[in-house]
């Protein structure tokens, strides 16, 4: 089997300005944050981002990396809105395709099936169609019904964070919800997976049943071992969301000066520096509680 291990920097170096990137996970859950942070450090811009969004979207938008956003929502779950995203949205500076969540998934399924669209009932009668005037409806060839023809959401690169992988890129999701990461990979030309831990293939079933092996290496271009790579979003069962840090992110994002300080403290260095800064943050929080 091929050895697909690589460094974060190598994966991100292959992403070019103007590309369409899909980001797996859901809201503030199992987002490939280490890859997102590496993207923030790169000079890539003009991206089209495809996401059921959380802080991945907020951070990339605030850093000026995003030209267009194809999304179902942007939320931090325990905190309903991401201030970085809402601020950009209210400035009216983003090109947007807003979908109902089910429509979004239908678009991924179309891409994964190499179809230019798939029909769905979701969206009919709503203002999703008015907001996206390029969206078309289609008449059933079998009845009088009218459906939304959701265009395929294809992407150049999909970015995913997983619990485990082997060196060949057989991917394991151990948490209760795999979200749509398998579909992202099937809808993309290339897929990079950051993973909590790379384990020998024969150990893949040590921690979960075969049902957890939801993404085969045939869809995976490269794997990157990034412990805590989803921080501060969830990566169940390895760790939950860092709620304290997420609150700090939100509070900082609401104020330009505080955001500059946040960026300097957490996002100016590499991944090791980020995690060291997070540790300092928690140590200080504990001190202030004493």
């Amino acid at each position: 089997m091929p050895d697909k291990r690589m460094e974060l920097s190598d994966a991100v170096a292959s992403i070019e300005s103007g590309m369409t990137i899909g980001i797996g996970g859901w809201g503030s859950r199992r987002k490939p944050m280490a890859i997102v942070r590496e993207l923030l450090r790169s000079d890539v811009k003009d991206l089209t981002v495809v996401s059921l969004g959380g802080p991945d979207v907020g951070l990339l938008v605030a850093a000026g990396k995003v030209r267009k956003l194809i999304y179902g929502f942007v939320t931090l779950d325990s905190i309903p809105l991401d201030p970085l995203f809402t601020a950009a949205r209210e400035r009216g500076e983003l090109e947007l395709q807003e979908y109902d969540e089910g429509m979004f998934v239908t678009g991924l399924r179309a891409a994964a099936n190499r179809l230019s669209f798939l029909p769905t009932l979701a969206g009919i009668g709503s203002d999703v169609l008015a907001a996206n005037p390029h969206l078309k409806t289609i008449k059933s060839p079998y009845s009088d019904d009218e459906y939304v023809a959701v265009p395929a959401i294809t992407m150049d690169v999909a970015l995913i964070h997983a619990n485990r992988s082997d060196t060949a890129g057989n991917i394991q999701f151990l948490g209760p919800d795999p979200y749509f990461d398998d579909l992202y990979a099937m809808a993309a030309t290339r897929t990079f997976v950051s993973t909590e831990k790379i384990v020998p293939t024969e150990n893949l079933l040590d921690e979960g049943s075969f049902h957890t092996l939801m993404l085969s290496r045939m869809y995976v271009t490269g794997v990157i071992e990034t412990p805590k790579g989803a921080h501060f979003t969830t990566c169940e069962p390895d760790y939950g969301r860092d709620e304290l840090f997420q609150k700090h992110y939100v509070a900082s994002a609401k104020d330009p000066a505080a955001w500059d300080a946040f960026t300097a403290e957490f996002l100016s260095g590499d991944e090791d520096a980020f995690h060291a800064a997070v540790e300092r943050f928690h140590a200080e929080q504990e001190k202030s509680l004493v």
Binding site: E101, A122, G123, D127
Partner: protein
């Protein structure tokens, strides 16, 4: 017991009533009062409804409010997000959703305030509202009945209202009721919002005054009170920590 019933408890019982004829389908409830209502329904008149824990599991025995199946409760099925959309498409689900705006035909908005291109306030997006209203029964829960929420026209139709659904020919569209802290609303034969009942202790005029479109509450009957058995379940089994009072903030004694 019933002489100290709160508005929150009346709303819980009204939410529970939504599931009376549901049978075996997934009860999806957004918010504290609807969640308590769905659990009350399961423990009383509708034992066959299927509850989700808000994460990836269906539960046959609801755990304590606010805890997922991982913290107790019996898992009877697996429902990650990918399955949820499949369930929505089959119609075997029913939702109580919230709303930021609702108009007189039940068009609901949770996406944004202002113009779509440059909103005054970005809200949470349309989320699943278009798909839910196209596929299965949807009811709404409004913790604060106000004329800012019940408006002449909504800024972005997220959940599809009766006029839009009829014009678009949606076959599975079904708006149930709107439960607020003042009243229970439903729809007349033309699909317009009307008053089904006003909560005990609420002046009907207050309902009209707090609605941004014409709504006559003068002849409406009173919303039913929860039974003693229901109150016992709400207070001692489902919500012993009285989380319900956070959503309808001041417990308002009535009767």
């Amino acid at each position: 017991m019933s002489n100290d019933v709160t508005i929150a408890e009346i709303c819980v019982a009204a939410c529970s009533d939504i599931y009376r004829d549901s049978g075996e389908l997934l009860a999806h409830a957004v918010g504290i009062i609807p969640t308590i209502g769905a659990r009350l329904a399961k423990l009383t008149h509708s034992p066959d409804i299927i509850l989700s824990d808000g994460e990836a599991f269906m539960m046959s025995e609801p755990p304590e409010l606010g805890k997922s199946a991982a913290h107790g409760g019996t898992i009877e099925g697996w429902a990650p997000f990918s399955r949820i959309f499949d369930i929505v498409a089959t119609g075997r689900r029913q939702s109580i959703m919230g709303a930021s705006q609702i108009d007189q035909y039940g068009n609901q908005n949770i996406s944004l305030i202002g113009d779509w291109k440059k909103p005054k306030r970005q809200l949470i997006g349309v989320r699943g509202a278009p798909g839910n209203t196209a596929n299965h029964r949807v009811d709404y829960w409004i913790a604060r009945h106000s004329s800012r929420l019940f408006v002449e026209s909504v800024d972005m139709v997220s959940g599809v209202g009766n006029d839009r659904a009829k014009a678009a020919g949606l076959k599975h569209h079904h708006l149930g009721v709107i439960i607020t802290n003042l009243a229970v609303l439903d729809y007349d034969e033309n699909g317009r919002v009307k008053v089904l009942s006003v909560h005990p202790g609420v002046d009907p005029q207050e309902v009209t005054d707090n609605t941004g479109f014409p709504l006559d509450a003068s002849n409406a009957p009173e919303t039913r009170l929860p039974t003693d058995a229901e109150l016992l379940l709400i207070r001692e089994v489902i919500d012993p920590r009285a989380v319900r009072n956070r959503e309808v903030p001041v417990p308002q004694p009535v009767g």
